[in-house]
Symmetry: C2
Subunit: 242 residues, 2 copies
DNA sequence: CAGTGGTCTAGACCACCAT
DNA sequence: TGGTGGTCTAGACCACTGC
C-alpha cells in the first residue's frame, strides 16, 4: 500500500493569518475598523490567545493591521496621516516641504500588452489611465502615469479624483475597496523625452529617475501599474537596506 | 519631596537584545559562530526561555543572527552565499548573470568635509579610498567609490583586496572584524561626467543612477560611505515597498 | 539518540484607553 | 473601572540536525 503523503500543514498561526487576510479581502472588516479582540479571535479560530497573537504580530509587521494598546487592533488605512506617503520614497535633500497634486488626465483605454502582462489581464481588456504631476513649492518634481484594471475601479473619473482631498491610495480604498498592501519598484536613469521635459520644466535629455511600480492588494493580487519620472536635482529617493 | 522620575525601563527582551548586540560588537561571538542555546542564554540573563526567544527573533528579523532548527543560532556572516549580494539591489532586466570585480585603486587619504561628516570623523582624519568597477558579461555596469575610516581598516591595501576571493563585506568582516548590519541609500539620476563615462564606456552625459550609501555596523555606527554610479540600460535597481 | 529550535498552550500581571 | 493589548513566565510536545 503506497504511503499517503503526510501533507505538511502550515503552522496554526500561519493558517489563522491567512484566514484573517481572506476576511480582509472579503471586506468583513474595512480599513479603519477594529478587529475583534485577541480573545474573541482565539475563540473563533479555536486556538489559544498566544497563537492568535502571533498571527496578529505577523500582520502588524506587514502593515495590514495596527495595534493600539488599551484600544484594540485596527485594519490599516491609507487615510491615516502616517500612511500618507508610505509608498513615496522621494524626499527633498533639505527635507523640507510636501507635495501638491495636479491631475493631468484620466481616461478609459485598452490595456497594452505590457500593462496586461503586469496586471494579469488579457490584452485589450479595459483599463483606466491616470496622469498627474506632483509639485513641491510650485516646482514640478514627479510625473506619474498609472494604469488600473477597470473592473476594480468602475466609475473612476477625473472628477472623482479631483473631489477627493487625500492620497490616491486613500481614495482607492474608500471608494473602490481596494487597499494597497505592498509594491515592487524597478528604478533606472533615463533621459527626459520631449513631453516629460516640457511637463517637468527641464531641458530635453535631462537625467530623470524612472520608477516603475507594481502594487498589490490583499492576497498578492496586482492591481496597479505605475510609471513615475522623478526630477532629482533637489530631491532623492531614500531607501533602507537591512 | 519631588517625585523621582519613574524611568521607564525598556522591556526585558529589548534589554537582552541590546546585551547580545553589545556582545557581538565586542567580538564575543564572531560571524559564523554559534551562539549559546536559548536555555543557556536564558540562564545567563536570568530570564525565561520565551523572553530570550523573543530577543533572538528580533535579531533574526534584523539579520544579525540566523536560526537553524535542530542546529542552533548563528551569527550572520557576509561569507554566506545568501548574503553575498544582500546590499546590491541592481539586477539584470533579464535576471541573468552575475558580477565580476575589477579593482581600480586603493589609497590612503585625508577625509574631505563631506566624508568626515558622513562617517562622524574629524575633518582630515585618515581614510582609505577604494575605487572599483563591476562588470556583467564583460560590460562595465557599476563604478563604485568608497571611503573607510582608517582606524577600523588598518592595513587595507590593493593587494589585500585582490587576494580575497569573496565580497568586500566578507573581507571586512573576516580581516577587520567589521560586520555591516544595515545601510541607508540616496538615489538620483545624474549625467555621466567625463571620467565616469570613460570607465563605464558610455557617452558623456549618459543618464546614470547615482547611489550614495552609508553603511552601519553593530550599534548603528557608520563605517563606510560609498558612491556608486550604475549604468541602467540593461539593469535596474529593485526595491520592495511594504 | 541527545540537543536544538519551532509550535502551541495556559495563565499572571501590567500599561494604557475609553467611559 | 472594565476591556484592550504588552510583557513575562512555565512547560508540553514536535521537527530537525548531527553524531
Amino acid at each position: 500500500m503506497p504511503s499517503t503523503k503526510p501533507r505538511p500543514l502550515a503552522p496554526l498561526y500561519e493558517q489563522i493569518r491567512q484566514l484573517i487576510v481572506a476576511a480582509l479581502a472579503a471586506g468583513e472588516w474595512r480599513p479603519g475598523d477594529a478587529l475583534p479582540s485577541e480573545a474573541a479571535l482565539a475563540e473563533r479560530f479555536g486556538a489559544s490567545p498566544g497563537t492568535v497573537r502571533r498571527a496578529l504580530d505577523e500582520l502588524t509587521a506587514e502593515h495590514l493591521v495596527e495595534r493600539r494598546q488599551g484600544s484594540g487592533t485596527f485594519v490599516s488605512t491609507h487615510a491615516a496621516p502616517r500612511q500618507q506617503f508610505r509608498f513615496l520614497r522621494l524626499v527633498a535633500d533639505d527635507a523640507a516641504g510636501s507635495f501638491t497634486r495636479e491631475l493631468l488626465g484620466c481616461r478609459r483605454m485598452r490595456a497594452t500588452a505590457e500593462v496586461a502582462r503586469a496586471l494579469g489581464l488579457r490584452t485589450a481588456e479595459p483599463v483606466i489611465e491616470v496622469r498627474r504631476l506632483l509639485h513641491r513649492r510650485d516646482r514640478p518634481v514627479v510625473l506619474d502615469e498609472l494604469w488600473l484594471p477597470e473592473r476594480h475601479f468602475e466609475g473612476l473619473t477625473a472628477d472623482v479624483i479631483r473631489n477627493h482631498p487625500g492620497a490616491l491610495y486613500a481614495l482607492f480604498e474608500a471608494r473602490f475597496g481596494v487597499h494597497m498592501v505592498r509594491a515592487e519598484e524597478k528604478l533606472r536613469a533615463l533621459a527626459a523625452a520631449p513631453e516629460a521635459a516640457r511637463l517637468l520644466q527641464v531641458p530635453e535629455g535631462e537625467p530623470l529617475l524612472s520608477v516603475e511600480r507594481l502594487a498589490y492588494t490583499y492576497g498578492d493580487r496586482p492591481v496597479e501599474l505605475r510609471r513615475g519620472l522623478y526630477h532629482t536635482s533637489a530631491d532623492h529617493y531614500r531607501n533602507e537596506l537591512n
